[in-house]
Amino acid sequence: MRSVAEIVFAAGVPHAPAIVGLFDKATPEQQKVVRDTYASLSAELRKAKPDLIIVFANDHMTNSRVLAYPDFLIGMAAEHRGPHEWFKPWIGCRDYAVKGSPAAAEALFRGMTRRDVRMFGSRAPLNFDDNVSVPSVLLDLDKLGVPLVPVLQNCTVPPIPDQHRCYEIGRKLGDLVRNDLPAGQRVALIGSGGLSHEPGGARYMFIDEAFDRWFIELCVEADHERMLKELTIERMEAAGSGGTAELLSWVVVMGAIGERRGHSYGYAICSDFRCGIGAVSWKLAA
């Protein structure tokens, strides 16, 4: 057993509800990208043999009022169920229940507090929309038997933590995994969100393909100085206001693992998805 905990899997994944509920509207080629992407990620996740999964994902104002909105909300419950009742017909996915880890959630909260990061926690079960539900059902996390700690992130209620802040929080998360979690623990990190989309906006059906392909390449290249310089809030807003900034959850993961080359699983653009679809996993040291 290794003397410290380690990150054994790291990926950024899309959670657009339509890749479940409107999957049949896509062409066979588009469906293949979605299916193959999630099948590959599921296989890699299982091969990594994690014993804890931490998912960072946009909260989408599903748990908190605008007047009291946390930037990071840790799910500390012993079990996580979804999707929340109102989102079921909209997402169209099956119900799921994934066991939680109150102990790991407390370690995360405690460790972030000691690293001067203000997070919030909820011992009561959180509401999940597509943010956690789509990766949970497409990766079959409920069948994996590995505890999950969700961290719901503010990616849409201004002011939001920008790329520099999210990367710094990710860097502290990596330090926390290595120094605070039990020796030998194997941690999977998933950033859930994106790619370009503008939920509820005048450009609801707009997908910025050029941005999406640029961002995927940025994730693959592992030049984080460039990423932090170029992946600004303004650039993400231009690619889809209120939605594209979900990619900040991927930035947290990149901060935790440092500069690692990524692997892209392709890209699908389907107007019915109302969101560019792509995923990246990062190669970690053996």
Partner: protein, 99 residues
Amino acid sequence: MGLEKFDPTLAGHDLVQDLKWNPALRAEFKADEKAVLDRYALRPDERRAIEARDFKTLYALGFHPYLGGQLSRFIYGNDAGGGALVANKKLIASLTGER
């Protein structure tokens, strides 16, 4: 129009959150929208915009677009392949003026 006009103090945000979290309120909103709106401290122009389904004005007042999209689904429908598509079209038509 993005988030630059966002006004977190609009009471309509609480309306949408409550509709999302409370199925009984959702049913009442369908049956008697006026009675539900009466319980929120909506600004007069905010209320008029909600009643007129005028999302463009609502957003200009500072309503968050993500919650605007959800408001449209409370009004027009929420299922992926049916009502939600109608809601999207109605919302976009209001925002772009292409009715």
